[in-house]
């Protein structure tokens, strides 16, 4: 039976192909000149170059974090190319997009063109750090929503970018955030003005294409008073033998009564079954519930990357604000994940919910790490956390590291945890009812993840279900 489990979890990566598009790649290495080069290439204003240089100076003084429960060889930051862009072209419509690129997205199953229209999704496509096409922009503009690449936003809406950039994740926040602040090449920008409910889900697909090019995206989403938006991020990367670094920063800002829902399905290349290659995904994601009654909700399905180091967090500053974190993290083979969230309660009657589901298979290691901090000012704050781990086979590991700091007597914090295992007995029970191992595992995993999948928008939930199936199912022998 253990061989059945092994076959189940050995599924080749279906997205391992390289698109042949001419790239404009910066020489390897990181110094002030590299940063100036990026800034010049992107024709950036002086304040942004200054922001980058300041971050770089901070980064030089910092050290890589050692506390995550992951192991990897030291990263040579001088061996990475910090800028890679498809040769620039002016694009007026989708017809002008490189057909090779479109085929790539087709292979990835990205819903674009009519598919995007049918799904009601506006896709801001990021391809090796530069936005190539933005659909639906007009329609969104009619209600005053700005949805574009962050480079474009820097030029078209500099006052907004300058006002908010680095306010949630300060440029020296942590090692990788500082690195990102110094060298970020592109990303998404989204602004929902006062009182506007975004009429559709906004979606971005990221894809790392050039071998050994680091990808440093920067995402900034602002929801003004009473605004609401649901944002979807999907990631896929082709297969390379060397590890690639991905250090993104995402900042969300919700003003009074605003609502931001941020959903991710991450399927970066995880390395092969021997643990060779794969993405290092060191990401800083944080939302600030700045206004009263605001709400920020993170939902993530993490199935890829060789190493995941990621803690989508909420700072609950506004009174009565709400933070949510729903996560499924699946690791297989030699993947390592140290992921979780931080809920920082500052305002009165702030509430947070954490639901984390970790699935470990193969020889992988999966850790939940979470912080719930109730500040002295957060009277009446409440938190509920639930962390469940599931083991597939007997060579994998699962850990839970919950940190709870309560500095207000009136707060109420609950934490529940469980560990279960897909073992012989469960599969036998299904088999005895005529159900084969593949279907059984899929049903068990989907049942385990139900609380999280329910939070995903419909199309994403379907995709996530399929993805988990792909990662865990295979040739049952």
């Amino acid at each position: 039976m253990s061989s059945v489990l092994q076959n189940l979890v050995n599924q080749p990566y279906p997205h391992g192909f390289v698109t042949e598009i001419e790239s404009d790649v910066a020489p390897k290495g990181l110094n002030e000149d590299t940063i100036r080069l990026i800034s010049t290439k992107k024709n950036e204003p002086g304040w942004l170059l200054e922001f980058r240089l300041k971050a770089y100076q901070q980064w030089l003084k910092m050290e890589e974090p050692k506390w995550p429960n992951v192991k990897y060889p030291k990263i040579d930051f001088q061996a990475i190319s910090y800028y890679s862009a498809p040769k620039p072209k002016k694009l007026a419509s989708m017809d002008e997009v490189d057909p090779e690129l479109l085929r790539t997205f087709e292979k990835l199953g990205v819903p674009m063109n009519e598919r995007a229209a049918l799904a009601g999704v506006a896709v801001d496509v990021i391809f090796d750090s530069v936005s190539v096409a933005t659909t639906y922009k007009q329609k969104l503009a009619e209600v005053g929503i700005i949805f574009c690449s962050i480079s474009e936003a820097v030029h078209e809406h500099p006052e907004l970018v300058q006002q908010y950039l680095g306010t949630v994740v300060p440029l020296g926040d942590n090692y990788y955030a500082a690195l990102n602040s110094a060298v970020f090449t592109d990303g998404s920008f989204c602004f929902i003005p006062k009182g506007v409910k975004c009429p559709m889900d906004l979606s971005t697909y990221f894809r790392i294409n050039t071998q050994e090019s680091g990808q440093f995206e920067r995402t900034l989403i602002i929801a003004e008073e009473g605004a609401s938006v649901s944002y979807l991020e999907g990631c896929t990367a082709p297969k390379f033998d060397t590890n690639q670094l991905h250090a993104a920063v995402v900042e969300l800002i919700a003003l009074d009564n605003a609502d931001i829902k941020y959903s991710t399905v991450q399927n970066w290349y995880a390395g092969d079954e021997k643990g060779i290659g794969g993405i290092y995904n060191f990401v800083t994601k944080r939302g600030l519930c700045k206004g009263v009654n605001s709400r920020i909700s993170w939902t993530q399905v993490e199935t890829g990357s060789a190493i995941t180091w990621k803690y989508p967090s909420c700072v609950l500053r506004g009174d009565n604000s709400v933070g949510e974190f729903y996560s499924v993290a699946l690791t297989n083979h030699y993947q390592q994940a140290d992921t979780g969230t931080k809920m920082v309660h500052l305002g009165r009657n702030t509430r947070s919910t954490i639901v984390s589901k970790g699935i470990s298979a193969g020889r992988s290691n999966n850790s939940y790490r979470g912080l719930v901090r109730i500040a002295p000012s957060a009277a009446g704050a409440r938190n509920y956390s639930r962390c469940d781990s599931m083991l597939v086979g007997d060579q994998c590991g699962a850990n839970t590291f919950p940190y709870i700091q309560v500095n207000n007597q009136s707060a109420k914090v609950e934490h529940e945890a469980s560990t279960s295992k897909i073992g012989e007995d469960q599969l036998f029970y299904f088999a005895q009812r005529g159900i084969g191992a593949e279907e059984a595992v899929s049903m068990i995993i989907n049942g385990f993840c139900k609380d999280v999948f329910q939070q995903l928008p419909m199309e994403f939930a379907v995709e996530a279900t399929k993805l988990l199936g792909l990662k865990l199912e295979g040739s049952v022998g």
């Binding site: 088999a431 009812r433 005529g434 068990i444 049942g447």
Partner: protein
């Protein structure tokens, strides 16, 4: 019930089974014909549950000798799920909990899988809902069961009812019920036993694995087998169960040893 000219469903010859390299079954012989009800009794550790699980194909139970024919075919050539689809049903002593999976979803998948195997129509969720509710009446089950996660938070009695519900849905040719009576109070026992009796036909057979005689008051066996030390050491009619209830198991073993002693 014993019928004239009924077909042999199950023929077990010299079955030997090990678990973790320890031999538990040391040569079992048993023939079950359609329409019959067999009870396998015996003290703890005698190998009753091992026998049940080995027939169903649990991977931890390794067959080291003998053969088992089911409807004339070698049962051990079939994977566990294929045995189930062919009509071998095991009612679990400890049904497994599956958090997050709705009972209705699980039951429908099992039902449709077996239906497809038999070349019959599968049911969509609505059709299945009507169908399963009808079956649940047989076991006096609350429809709430359908929305709850499979066996999660079920009481012992609820779990056993759920097992028999699955038997009712899958309509097996051979139902092996492993300690279905354990953990049931008197009322539940009667309900479950009634359910089983209503499912018994001249075309299927039931093997009850049990410690106690009490369930046999409701489901009357045609044959009672006493298992000890991995062998069937005595076979009799329903009156044997009553005798065991009053006299215990020890005397059967003693009698077996005397009979087995080689002639001097």
């Amino acid at each position: 019930m014993i019928y004239q000219d009924s077909k042999t469903l199950l023929a077990v010859r010299g079955l030997r089974v090990t678990v973790n390299d320890i031999e538990i079954l040391k040569g079992i012989d048993l023939t079950v014909k359609s329409g019959e009800v067999h009870a396998i009794m015996g003290p703890n550790g005698s190998g009753k549950s091992t026998f049940a699980k080995a027939l169903a194909g649990h991977p931890a139970y390794v067959v080291t000798g003998g053969e088992v024919m089911f409807e004339g075919k070698n049962l051990f050539e079939l994977a566990p799920e294929a045995r189930a689809r062919a009509g071998v049903f095991l009612g679990f002593q400890y049904p497994i909990e599956i958090p997050g999976v709705a009972n209705s979803q699980f039951l429908r998948l099992a039902y449709n899988t077996v239906q497809a195997q038999r070349g019959k129509d599968e049911l969509d969720p609505l059709e299945f809902d009507d169908f399963v509710r009808e079956k649940m009446k047989l076991l006096e089950m609350n429809p709430d069961f359908l929305d709850r996660s499979v066996n999660e938070g079920f009481s012992g009695g609820e779990k056993k009812r759920n097992e028999i519900l699955q038997m009712a849905l899958l309509e097996p040719k051979l139902a092996i019920l492993d300690e279905t009576d354990s953990g049931l109070d008197i009322d539940a026992l009667r309900t479950v036993a009634n359910g089983v009796n209503q499912l018994a036909t001249c075309d299927n057979a039931i093997v009850l694995v049990t410690h106690y005689q009490r369930m046999l008051n409701y489901i009357v066996p045609d044959y009672v087998h006493v298992m000890e030390g991995g062998r069937i050491i005595k076979t009799g009619g329903k009156e044997l169960a009553v005798e065991l209830e009053t006299r215990g198991y020890d005397w059967v073993g003693v009698e077996y040893k005397i009979n087995a002693r080689p002639a001097a």
